[in-house]
Each structure stands twice: as structure tokens, then as C-alpha cells.
Symmetry: C2
Subunit: 344 residues, 2 copies
């Protein structure tokens, strides 16, 4: 039963060459005579030889997997980011380890610990810990990482994010252009920069239109889920001077809101217009399709991975000072039915 695992030396013996030549036939094929190489490959095939990554890694000091730590795969937005990352990494011959921090800084720290022990090639992280302290081990171990979906000013780290101020502005500009003068902002945890930035953008749009800040009525949520969106609907309907338009901090909230409004007999967009955020696929799949601020999620994953690999190569190769960069992508408003109704 205990069939001894076949190693490089077995192949060498069987092919009548040295282990070095076998190794070369894999890693520098050109330095091996074609005929020898063919013979080796045949033996590899016959014996079912499989390289041991752990041995290679121990030797070379670098693994062939990159880690991606997201907050929550239940939000399709993060799935899109993951897909973009996975495709890019695979194109480079690397595997991606997708993990979920569930927004928990301690889970995040655990995973970061795992990644350092694995000596992964690099990590893409959407930070759960606002202090950024949990990323410290990566820096200490010299493991490249890029922060995704968060703007990081620190010149010592790469980051890819989307301009949330613009996103918020686009959303509310659109609403104001439809004639709305009382807008609710169903938001999320105040400690999230994104939530603050989108509010800033929203207020900028309001100011630009010559309206008072009170035009925006914020309804914060804790979880930014569909359920939270339903709850927010109840609060919205309870408001004295009910807003005629709502800007939601993500599509999950918007979906929950739209459903609850429907259940309450409140017409969308006639009585309440809605704009969501992220433009997840489900946003366009409901009866009254959702207007949403589209974030280039897959593109973010792709770019982040490219930057990560570039940094990893720089570290691996020359000590050429890798220039950390901060990329900020632009969002885009996708107008659909949920906001298409002029008022006033």
C-alpha cells in the first residue's frame, strides 16, 4: 500500500542521467539536449513523477501561490475582484488562495500569519482591520502585498481603489438632476473610509447644486446587507419629511430597500427613486432594475495582481527600488429604471 512516492532521483536513475539534468529539463529546457529531454519526459510520464513544491520552495525561497483575503464572498462585488485576480495569477502560472476574513480583524490576523508561514508569493488584501496593524507581519517578513479597495496614502505600499468621492457625487448629481430635493443616504459603518467618501461626494453634489447640506439625510447601517436594507426601508418610511430619493452605499442595501418598498406598496421610482453602488449582477436582474454606481471590480483584481507580481519580481530580482504606487480607478454611473422618474 505504501507506494513510495517517486522523486527526481528515481526519474534520473530510470532515464540514465543525473538529477541535475532532470531538474534542468524542467527549469531550463534549453540547456538540455532535446533527445535527453525527450527521454526524461517519457520516464516522467511513465513513472507519474510530480514535482514537490515544498522542496522547490525550500530551495528557492519562494512559493507559487498568492493569497487573496476578502471581507466576504457573499457580496458578489468581492467575487468579481477575486475572479479578476484569479485569472491574472493563473496566466502567470500561479495559484490563488482565496480566503475570507468575515470583516474580523482577528480572523484577518490569523490568515496573515498563515500566509507568512507559507511564504506566499504575495498577498492581495481588502483590510478588515482599519489600523492596518494586522499587515505588519507581512512587512516584517518582506512579503509583498497590495491593498485592494482601500486608498492607502502610505508611500510604502501599493494600493488599488476606486474614487468613492466621485462615486457618491455621480449618484447624487443624477438624483438631483431628476428633480429630487430630499435625498436619503443609506450608509454603513462610519469607520469605513468608503462610507465617508461617498457621503462627501454626495454633499459635494448637493453643494454644487446650491442646496443646503440638510438635503441629505443619512441612515447608517451596521452590516450593509440585504436585511439591513429592509430595515432601513422601515426607518425611511417613518421619516417625517420623507425623502423622494435614496442613495445606498451598496447594492445589497438597495435590493433590500427596493423589496421592502414594494412590499409596503411604495412605487419605485415614482414615489422613491433608488441608486445603489457596485453594480453587482443581481442589481440588474430584478423587476425594477437598479441604477447603480459601477465599480470596476474585476479590473481592480487584475490590476492589483499585476502590481503584486511586479513587486514580487522586483524583490526577487535586483534590489531595484520598487516604486509603490497608488492607483485610483474611476467609477461609472449605470442608469436603470429605479431612478428614472422626474419629480418637482
Amino acid at each position: 500500500m505504501a507506494k513510495k512516492t517517486v522523486g527526481i532521483s528515481d526519474v534520473a536513475r530510470e532515464a540514465g542521467v543525473s538529477v541535475g539534468t532532470v531538474s534542468n529539463s524542467f527549469n531550463r529546457p534549453d540547456s538540455v539536449a532535446p533527445e535527453t529531454r525527450a527521454r526524461i519526459l517519457a520516464v516522467v510520464e511513465r513513472l507519474g513523477y510530480v514535482r514537490s513544491e515544498s522542496a522547490r520552495q525550500l530551495r528557492t525561497g519562494t512559493s507559487r501561490i498568492v493569497a487573496l483575503l476578502v471581507l466576504d464572498l457573499a457580496n458578489p462585488f468581492f467575487v468579481d475582484v477575486a475572479n479578476g485576480a484569479e485569472r491574472t495569477a493563473r496566466a502567470a502560472g500561479l495559484g490563488v488562495m482565496v480566503c475570507t476574513s468575515a470583516q474580523s480583524p482577528s480572523d484577518e490576523a490569523d490568515y496573515i500569519g498563515l500566509f507568512t508561514e507559507q511564504q506566499v508569493r504575495g498577498v492581495l488584501v481588502i483590510p478588515a482591520d482599519p489600523t492596518g496593524r494586522s499587515l505588519e507581519p507581512l512587512r516584517r517578513q518582506g512579503i509583498p502585498y497590495v491593498v485592494v479597495d482601500r486608498l492607502v496614502e502610505d508611500a510604502e505600499v501599493c494600493s488599488v481603489s476606486v474614487d468613492d468621492v466621485t462615486g457618491g457625487r455621480l449618484a447624487v448629481e443624477h438624483l438631483l438632476a431628476q428633480g429630487h430635493r430630499r435625498v436619503a443616504y443609506i450608509s454603513g459603518p462610519a469607520h469605513l473610509q468608503q462610507i465617508r467618501d461617498r457621503r462627501t461626494g454626495a454633499l459635494a453634489a448637493i453643494a454644487a447644486a446650491g442646496l443646503p447640506p440638510q438635503t441629505l439625510h443619512e441612515l447608517p447601517t451596521v452590516h450593509m446587507t440585504i436585511a439591513a436594507g429592509r430595515d432601513a426601508a422601515a426607518r425611511l418610511l417613518g421619516l417625517a419629511d420623507r425623502p423622494t430619493a435614496v442613495f445606498c452605499a451598496n447594492d445589497l442595501l438597495a435590493l433590500g430597500l427596493e423589496q421592502a418598498l414594494y412590499a409596503a406598496g411604495v412605487k419605485v421610482p415614482e414615489e422613491v427613486a433608488i441608486v445603489g453602488y457596485d453594480d453587482i449582477e443581481f442589481a440588474s436582474a430584478v423587476a425594477v432594475p437598479l441604477t447603480s454606481v459601477r465599480q470596476p471590480a474585476a479590473e481592480m483584481g487584475r490590476l492589483a495582481t499585476q502590481m503584486l507580481l511586479a513587486e514580487a519580481d522586483a524583490v526577487g530580482g535586483e534590489e531595484s527600488a520598487h516604486a509603490h504606487q497608488t492607483v485610483v480607478l474611476q467609477p461609472e454611473l449605470v442608469v436603470r429604471t429605479s431612478s428614472l422618474h422626474r419629480v418637482g
Copy 2:
């Protein structure tokens, strides 16, 4: 810049002990004097020592990560499976590498190759290759794996799946009970056992009701996505004797269908009743909530992981013949508005 990475020998020297003792203080704490251990830990802390997994793995022959290969994270059903698996693995101190085969047998084969090279602890796989041939390398390498979401009769492998015949039966029984006598089945690729099983269940319900098989009108799709659901709606509406009820092979199809029907002015459930499959969160988040056959996705991920770890332990430990098992979970019908209207 090139700060030499600190290894176990650095810790040993600094703590005035041998490397063996340092290793023991991690792996068999009880065999080390508490005082010695404390001293070592202090040094570890001070030096920021991190174990090298690759070295451990090379030595012990087994890694601390399990792989999960799903078809497509865009379907929340698979995300739920992944979450169940991830939680269970983490509880066991293992990391999970979630990968996507995009339904492509060749991508699947590539990933399986990666997993064998990594010598992962085990793999959970939702097969994309119906022949099961791409899993051969795992078997050859002696890497434990369990097949998820597919029934595998083979006594040589563990599998966890859900009873699709029952699922199909539940869905159509419900529809017939509402008085429907013409039911459409918006299905998927015929090579999928699930698609066939659900049809079998649907037909069984029809037969049990004393109705002819023609009662079921199948509309196959290629992709089982929201877009495919919209397309199917068009086909449905073009039918001569239009069915009054539709059973969809998954919720994505059902969502697309419901949206298209709404756009066409066809009332759900009054004119057409709908039952979906999977009970993803979004199914209950739309204006007319979807009746759906719930599959215990997270439970499947959890169970599969447990079985995998059990098998891995069996392999690692004694040669105690691990008893492969085939677990079949039961689905459950969740009735919501989309099917609540009596006809006839």
C-alpha cells in the same frame, strides 16, 4: 536591505539551546521544561521568528492547506459551500485554497496538477469533468479528495450530495397541488446528472398525480445563468399551450425568468407560477420572493471537509482502511410568493 530571514537555528543560538529543543517547544511543548520553553518563546517573539511551512512540509510530507475547487463563485450556492468548508477547515487549523474551474475540464485538470505539486492535505471538488478522469492524479498521488455536490457510486471515493430526485419531486408536487396542469422545466445541460435527476423527480410527481408525462415541458439552457433565464422566458411565452407554472433548475434561471415575465407584463404568480432551486439569498430578496428548493450548501461544505479530514488522518496514521462513504442530504421546499396562487 536584504535582512536575512531568521530561522530556527537563530532562535536556538540566541536562546542557548539546540534546534531540536526549539522545534520541540513548538510541536511537543510538554517535552520541554517550562522555563526553557518560556525563554525560547521570548526569543521567538524578539526575533520575529516565523516557521517555514515549506521546510516542515518537506520533512513531514504533508501540508496544512486543503483545496476547494468549485465551478463558479458567481453562483452564491457555491459560495455557501465554500463558507462551510472554510469554517470547518479553519477550526482544524488548516487553510483553504478556493479555486474556480469555470466549468472547464482543462482548467480543472490544471488545478488538480497544482494541488498535487503542492501536496495539499486534501481536495474538495465539484467536478467539471463528467468523466472524472481529471481526478486521476489525486488518486495516483494518494491525495485524499471528496466529491461535492455530485453523487459518486464508486466505492473508492467519498462524496456528499443532495437528493435531486426528491428536490424535483418536491417542486413539481407543490405546483400540481396548486392546480397547475402544464408545467415547464427550465433546465440545463443534459450531461449534468442533477438536471436529469430533477427531471426524474418532476416526472415522478406528475405520474403520482395520475397525469401524463407531457404535462412537463422541458426548456433546456446551456449556461444556467440569469441571462439564460431571460432567454427561456421568451421561449416560454412563445409556446402554443403556455404552461402556467415553471420549475427552474436553479435560482439564477428563476430570477432571470421572473424579471423577463415582469417586463412582458405577465403576472407572477397569477399567470405563471415559479419555483427555483438552491434557495440562494437573492431568491428571497426580490419583489416577488421566489419559492425554491433549498439545498443545505454550507452543511455540504462542512460535512465534506470533515470527511476529507477524517480520510486524511486515516491515511496519515495507521493504514486503517478508511471507509469511503456516500452521503446524500435531503433538500427542502421553501414556499414563497412566486408560487402561491391556485389555478384550475
